[in-house]
Symmetry: C2
Subunit: 240 residues, 2 copies
C-alpha cells in the first residue's frame, strides 16, 4: 500500500480522458496524495470535459458537510461562450483593481509574481476555459451590506467551502486543472443577472475546470508548527 | 484497485491507534471512500488522541488553498479541561437558543431529531472530548457588525473552510470522530478572551476530535441532479 501511494504521488501527468471507468479508478487515488499534490492549475486546454465527469465531481462535492445538514448548495455549470464572456468582463474589471494592487504590493516576490501571471492568463483566456462551476448557497439571508455577526457569516460559508474543497480534490484526482476564484462575482447583483439567480441564491465562488496544459507541480507551505498553538494563541508546541 | 477501494469502504470500524505508521497507512484510504463515508461523528471516547496524530491532520489541512496563497490560517489545539469548560458554557448558551428553535421547527423530522440528539450529547459532554481544534483566520479586517460586500466575506471564509474540510477528511481516514461546529464561538469577543486571540485573529469554527464511540454510519444526500443547473439557474440537466 505504501508503494502504491508513492507511485500515485509521482503520477502527476494524467492525460485527458472520457472513460468513466478510468475516472472512477483515478478517484481511488490515496487521500494523502490528492491533498499533498492539490494546487491551483489555471492554464487549461479549451478541449471539452465530459459532462458526466463534471457531474461526478459535483456529486462528490455534495458529500461535504453543511450547517444543520441543510444541504443548501446549488451548482451552476457554465459552458456557454456568451455567459463566459459576460463573466470575463466582470473578472477583468475586478482584476484591474486587485491585480494592479497585488503587483504593486507583492509583485517583487517571485512566488507571488508567478501566481499573478497565472491569474492574468486565466483572465485573458476565461472564455476558452471549458467549464465554470459556480457554487451557490440558498438562503442564509445575507443581504448586501447588511451587517451580521462574524460567526453567522463564518457558519454560512462553512456550508459551501467544504463542498468546494471536495470538488477541487476530486478534480485533482481525476487529473483536471482547477482553481478557486471569487473575483468574477465581485458584483453579486451582476452575477445574479448573468446566471439567472434569484435573490435567495447567493453565488459564492467559481471553480474553472479543464484539462491542464502543464502538470500538477509542487507548492510551498509554511511548516505546520508555525500555525499550531497549544491551548492558547501564541503558545508553541515543544519539539519532540 | 477497485477491489482495494471496496474493501476500504466497508472497513468502517477503525480502532484507536497511537502507531504513527498505521496512521500513514490509513491516510492512504482512497479519496472516494474518504469522501463518501465522511460524516459528523459527535459521540467520542474521552481517551486522549496522540498529539502527533492531531498535528498530522492539521498539517494536511494546510495543503488546502487560501486566497492569493495568503496561508493566513492559525490552529489552536485545546485539550485543557478548564478552557473546554469555558467553551462549553458558550456552547450551552447558544444551543439553548438555536437547539430549542431547531426542535420546534424541525424536531418532528426523524433525521433532524437524530442530529439534535447528537448535538445535545456533544454539548453535555464537551469537556470530555479529548481535543478541540479551533480554526482561525488572521487579518481580513472583518470587524464585528461592520458590513462588507457578500463576495468579500465569501472570499475571506474561502481561505479557511477548504483547510477545515481537509482536516475532517484526514480525521475520517485515520478513524477519528470529527464534526464542524461554530456555536461555541457565537460571541467572538468571549472566544477571543478564552483562547487569548488578538483582535487580528478571528476564530471561525471548531473541530472536536476523538476516537468514535460507534462507527461511521451512512448519511443521506440529495441526488446530484437536484442541485445542478445547466448554464443558468433553474435549467436542469437532461437525463442521459
Amino acid at each position: 500500500m505504501a508503494i502504491f501511494a508513492r507511485l500515485t504521488a509521482m503520477d502527476t501527468e494524467l492525460t485527458p480522458t472520457d472513460d468513466l471507468d478510468e475516472v472512477e479508478r483515478r478517484l481511488a487515488m490515496p487521500l494523502l496524495d490528492a491533498m499533498v499534490t492539490q494546487r491551483a492549475v489555471r492554464r487549461v486546454l479549451p478541449d471539452p470535459v465530459h459532462p458526466r465527469i463534471v457531474r461526478r465531481c459535483i456529486e462528490l462535492a455534495l458529500e461535504g458537510p453543511t450547517g444543520s445538514n441543510g444541504q443548501n448548495w446549488e451548482f451552476v455549470v457554465v459552458t456557454d461562450r456568451e455567459l463566459k464572456e459576460r463573466l470575463q468582463v466582470q473578472y477583468r474589471r475586478a482584476w484591474s483593481v486587485y491585480g494592479t494592487a497585488g503587483e504593486r504590493l507583492r509583485g517583487g516576490d517571485p512566488q507571488t509574481a508567478k501566481i499573478l501571471r497565472s491569474v492574468r492568463w486565466q483572465v485573458d483566456h476565461f472564455t476558452e476555459i471549458p467549464v465554470l462551476v459556480v457554487a451557490c448557497l440558498r438562503g442564509g439571508g445575507k443581504l448586501p451590506y447588511v451587517p451580521m455577526p462574524a460567526i453567522a457569516a463564518s457558519s454560512h460559508y462553512g456550508s459551501i467551502y467544504p463542498s468546494v474543497q471536495n470538488l477541487l480534490l476530486a478534480a485533482r484526482a481525476v487529473g483536471l486543472g482547477a482553481s478557486l476564484i471569487t473575483l468574477p462575482l465581485w458584483s453579486t447583483t451582476v452575477a445574479r443577472r448573468i446566471l439567472g439567480l434569484p435573490l435567495s441564491v447567493e453565488p459564492c465562488c467559481i471553480v474553472p475546470l479543464g484539462w491542464p496544459r502543464g502538470r500538477y507541480g509542487p507548492k510551498a507551505r509554511k511548516p505546520v508548527d508555525a500555525v499550531i498553538h497549544l491551548e492558547r494563541y501564541g503558545a508553541r508546541a515543544a519539539a519532540d
